[in-house]
Subunit: 231 residues, 2 copies
DNA sequence: ACAAAAGTGTTGGTGTTACACCCATGT
DNA sequence: ACATGGGTGTAACACCAACACTTTTGT
């Protein structure tokens, strides 16, 4: 989002915003969602856009991104990562605004659903409305990057609650990658990567055999071995 | 480089620069070099720093980076890539300056050596002077990224002239990765990637058997197959 | 003829994919 | 007892790493 400043002076330098692509999973709907805000003023009034805003002076970029995230979700310590900086002069029709794009991963179902007509909604990344500015490019880029990182790092765990079953982890991977994975191969690879541990508990959610619950060993997103998780 | 503006007003928003890590190979010295400029004013006067400067209004980031590159090297159409954006408020002791770091690869020996006391010099990335601001971090990051991309894309060709031998290509890889590679495996992998073609010519540089010359097929830096070039 | 660099194959090991059935629980 | 989802092993194949000698040229 690139709101106008309160004074409309034209400065001789571009200004800087952050925009945050906030992803979360809707496991029940088998869907990857992104949080969008509806613009209340020109330009692009009524269109949806990424949460974002100006970087304050003496505020780090990551702090600015975290501030946007906290403002929209109330969440503070979630995974957040710089993506890319978009600076085409015409990306904002009013004046030159450079935006540093961030991506955040919010654990599944941590946030309650907004009211149906709220100006803040979750949308499927696979079926989203027309976005303001170049935000569609930013979301596309973020998705591509998320998929890529899912394959060779352990970011995937950031989308799940602390304790999870291997099936739900696999489902998360399948939703993001938009493809089916082989159950046995998936389990072997995750287990052999040695990054999760059993909690000793079992989930008993409805029917079927209860599944072992696992915990991610480390909060840091580490490279998984030398090789990709799913080539 | 983050020069002060001519007026020293303190604005209420951070300003934006680009800094460019310009790499080139010194094949004869088996060295990877980076182009640095010596600062002529405070802060960090006398220290070396990356070529850089403010992004003009209505100028794209990539254009600003290309402008810096052309100003220092005279080169226009070389490989240039956005790396990361550094925005810690204290990275410039004067005021908040956000810099978008770019990396450029300049073909081997395209540029003449500057005069010995010029304020613009090539330095070995492995043995470089103390750098101003956070530029040492930026160079480290650029080197890490270059190594990484070398492994799974074809950026390596950007460091060589249009026509090259497999031995010189291997030498380029060895310099950047700072490790020896197996000749037979290297050749097999490059040739099977199907991204270079024989020119039909041979290099006859001094002693030894003349080597076939190859040309890179495509100017675009493409992913090489699904797998890394050198895992 | 010899020094120097170019060029060339094979083998063992490791990782990856594809694939089908039994197990524990709730109804 | 049956429906539901959890959990497990193996065999063929592809890719990778390690390794040494022959060829072509200049001197």
């Amino acid at each position: 989002m690139t709101n106008p400043p309160h004074d409309l002076n034209s400065f001789d330098r571009p200004s800087v915003t952050v925009d945050v692509v906030i992803f979360s999973l809707a496991m029940a709907q088998n869907d990857l969602r992104v949080l969008l805000v509806q613009r209340s003023r020109e330009p692009y009034i009524g269109l949806w856009s990424l949460p974002g805003g100006f970087v304050h002076v003496n505020e780090s970029l990551e702090a600015a991104a975290a501030r946007q995230l906290a403002a929209k979700t109330g969440l503070e310590s979630v995974y957040i990562e710089q993506l890319f900086t978009f600076g085409e002069p015409q990306r904002d029709p009013r004046r030159h605004v450079i935006t540093v794009a961030y991506s955040a991963l919010v654990p599944y179902s941590i946030i309650e659903e907004p009211a149906p007509n709220a100006p803040l909604q979750w949308f499927s990344v696979y079926d989203r409305p027309k976005l303001a500015f170049d935000h569609a490019d930013i979301v596309d880029y973020a998705l591509q990057r998320l998929r890529y990182k899912l394959e060779y790092t352990s970011v995937g765990f950031e989308l799940l609650p602390n304790e999870f079953t291997l099936s739900s982890l696999q489902q998360a991977y399948e939703i993001v990658l938009a493809e089916k994975l082989d159950k046995r191969n998936f389990r072997r690879k995750i287990l052999s990567a040695d990054i999760i541990q059993e909690t000793g508990q079992k989930s008993r959610s409805g029917e079927g055999r209860p599944a072992k619950l696992y915990r991610y060993q480390d909060n840091a997103v580490a490279e998984i071995k030398a090789r990709r998780l799913f080539p």
